[in-house]
Subunit: 200 residues, 2 copies
DNA sequence: ACCTGAACACCGTTCAAGT
DNA sequence: ACCTGAACACCGTTCAAGT
């Protein structure tokens, strides 16, 4: 069955998500249109409405898929460095920075309010919370080993995430002073950020 | 001179910025269109092009104006709490959180990559750096008094900013767990975030 | 159930023209 | 110098219709 004429895929839904990710990487957030996505997937510009309620729903799906990949990546890092919690923390932070830099516009979609009413997309909420749980686990391990201060692990995880996320934001927007970037490698900067919050 | 017929303002440029801020507050980032801004200012939809190269340039102007106000607000707080660097830090962080909550969509425009090539808007760059210098000053005072660890004040300021900004992002997107918000006030949460990074 | 094509309202931007 | 109105290409979304 090489050509079904026009009806196209068995799985248009995922094909649309994939097309969206590609357009995002090429044309950026402002270049992502439903019509371009449909064209890239080889269907009419109204076909996406058979699978997504609107553009926001497609964006939610792209973000959700992004969180799934981030989860996988962070999980792998955690498994790889099981011996030392503090090493896990550094490596996970580093993986996060790399994830952001691999595909800055997808990262922006996931974290910067391009998706407008995330509460209405339970899958997105579930997947992002799942990733946060991973951070929380590592933070708890570091609290136990004395490398991070005690107290609510939710809040402590928030601090750790914030310190790295803030760094990534400035990095992606090119707002880290040149002088700093010439002095230290990205990896060293990430480590410095974490040192600020870790117990000596 | 009550009515100049159609030519309207003496200062359309600022009227457009003001209209933009109002639409942003009412309709959000996705509701901000150049045509609506023009309509609100009482001019034709092409009039803005006499003052701004394109939509991005208007957004840059709105953001720049936002940074000016943030600078003013933070300056006032610094003046008010001149006695103790650690108090200054807490109060400035608190002012930042309040600034974000006063007008979430303007905050989003300022910090979340809605403005796409900020490098091309020197006024924006200058004004945002000016605000960062303020943070740096307070951080240096806290390093001197031993409340923050030593090392590059640029990087330390980045850590402090990141920890608060990350918190604000989750707050604005409603991603802070209910359980946490019921237990502690926003103010207490901000203080907790800073305690994570300050020397006991 | 899944997809198409016409249609509608709205958008950013350009351009020739008016004062 | 500042503004208008017509025009263009592009967009999200709806709907009746086709398979």
């Amino acid at each position: 069955m090489p050509k079904k004429k026009n009806y196209h895929h068995g799985d248009l839904k995922n094909a649309l998500i994939k097309a969206g990710v590609e357009i995002l990487a090429k044309d950026g957030v402002s270049g992502l249109s439903l019509r371009k996505v449909a064209l890239k997937a080889g269907v009419s510009h109204t076909a996406p409405y058979s699978h997504f309620a609107d553009k926001q729903a497609l964006i939610a799906a792209i973000s959700t898929e992004g969180f799934r990949q981030l989860y996988k990546r962070v999980s792998a890092v955690i498994d790889e460095y099981q011996t030392k919690p503090s090493t896990q923390l550094v490596e996970v932070a580093w993986a996060y920075v790399q994830f952001a830099m691999d595909d800055p516009d997808r990262f922006k979609v996931m974290f910067s309010g391009v998706l407008e009413k995330e509460k209405e997309y339970p899958e997105f909420v579930a997947e992002s919370q799942r990733s946060f749980q991973l951070v929380k686990m590592i933070v708890e391990a570091n609290q136990t080993s004395g490398k991070l201060r005690g107290g609510s692990s939710d809040l402590a995880a928030l601090s750790v995430w914030g310190i790295i996320h803030g760094f990534v934001l400035l990095l992606l927007e090119g707002q880290i002073p040149h002088a700093i970037l010439e002095q230290k490698s990205l990896r060293e900067l990430v480590e410095f950020q974490l040192e600020q919050i870790m117990v000596k």
